[in-house]
């Protein structure tokens, strides 16, 4: 499986955010997008997920399910965590798991991200880091080949960052693909890098 982007361009609000961008991510490989604020890292991830329309270029997932769009084969982990404060931790995860077509046991996934002790707590009481862990739990509950991670380590403590690095390594070992936007190391061993703007 291979994610191919060539000559990608995106115009938002009359301003060219991305242009002439090309990249490939193969199975078992992670590509980390680096660059200063506002250079279009998040836009690139949203563009791959199909949430932002591209104005130019080609994007394809070779070896993927041709019946599904790339977004439907991808997990998008953005800055917003899509959690409802009045639902409990378990209800939030169970909903997304069922809505996105997963079959994993919520309790097992919650244990993996270290939230099994507070499964019945409304999400309103979670800290920023716990909310992030619950978002990450979604990636484990539903199996999808492509992970689009927008600054995945933000708000996570050292232990959770190590755990996340483990999940990412497992995902890659299982033939998954990762496209991440970041400002620093996200715990992957020697990922390929794509620099946007500035020095490139």
């Amino acid at each position: 499986m291979r994610l191919l982007g060539s000559d990608l361009g995106c115009i938002r609000g009359g301003r060219t955010v991305l242009s002439g961008l090309g990249f490939t991510v193969s199975a078992g490989e992670a590509l980390v997008v680096l660059g200063p604020n506002g250079v279009g890292k998040s836009t690139l991830l949203r563009l791959v997920a199909g949430l932002v329309r591209r104005s130019k270029g080609e994007l394809s997932l070779e070896g993927g399910d041709s019946e599904l769009s790339i977004g439907e084969q991808a997990h998008y982990l953005g800055h917003l965590d899509a959690l409802k404060p009045s639902l409990t931790v378990r209800e939030n995860l169970t909903f997304w798991s069922r809505y996105l077509g997963g079959s994993a046991e919520p309790q097992v996934v919650l244990a993996a991200v270290g939230l099994d002790g507070i499964a019945e707590l409304p999400a309103a009481y979670l800290s920023a880091g716990q909310r992030r862990r619950l978002s990450v739990a979604r990636l484990l509950a539903v199996r999808r080949p492509l992970w689009l991670l927008d600054e995945p380590t933000s708000a996570l403590d050292t232990n959770a960052q190590t755990a996340l690095a483990g999940f990412m390594a497992d995902h890659l070992a299982g033939g998954g693909l990762i496209l991440a936007a970041a400002h620093g190391p996200i715990g992957l061993r020697a990922p390929r890098e794509l620099r946007l703007g500035g020095s490139s």
């Binding site: 997920a49 199909g50 439907e72 917003l80 409802k84 639902l87 997304w96 077509g101």
Partner: protein
Amino acid sequence: MTALIALLVRDMRLAIRVGGGAPIGVLFFLIVVTLTPFAIGPDLALLARIGPAILWLGALLASLLALDRLVAADLEDGSLDLILTAGVPLELAVAVKAVAHWLTTGLPLVVAAPLLGLLLNLDPAATGAVALTLLAGTPALTFIGLIGAAVTVTLRRGGLLLAILVLPLTIPVLIFGVAAANAAIVGPMPFATPFTILCGIALLSIVAGTFAAAAALRHAME
């Protein structure tokens, strides 16, 4: 199918829990209808004559109350991004959200209407007629409101604009809803004529509302 049921259950849960809008609509309906006899005075004949209109106006305004959060909440917390990547057509997703909204805010209005009919001196047959027209008409109000909710989704405090956009579109529903109720009470028109048209408007609103709202949301995501 599992996905749609999951969405229905989630939205209904959100509506009934703390911070959800489900009880607000019914309470507002209750207050509006209770205030009317105080404003009009103890003229029982007049109350009975305008009762169906009062119930309909109350239900119309009450059904608008919780609409502004129907899709805006999902846009603001990022849920809409995930809903779009789920592989479920957006049209179906918004239709299910509207159904959940109707079950938690529209249906209680229908159930409350017979109780409130007592306050307006309506006899049981008239009350039944009003409740039946509300049962057919409130889904139309919800789906017309869904269009407004989707169009105003990116605006902060879009609730007021929503009401201004949606209320003119509900005029046909109001006309035929009240006409059917009055036909059942005083005649001379048969009940079935305006009621059938009301049902037709409701079915049209369900279809048009679903597609218009999905199109508006897609545009808003750009």
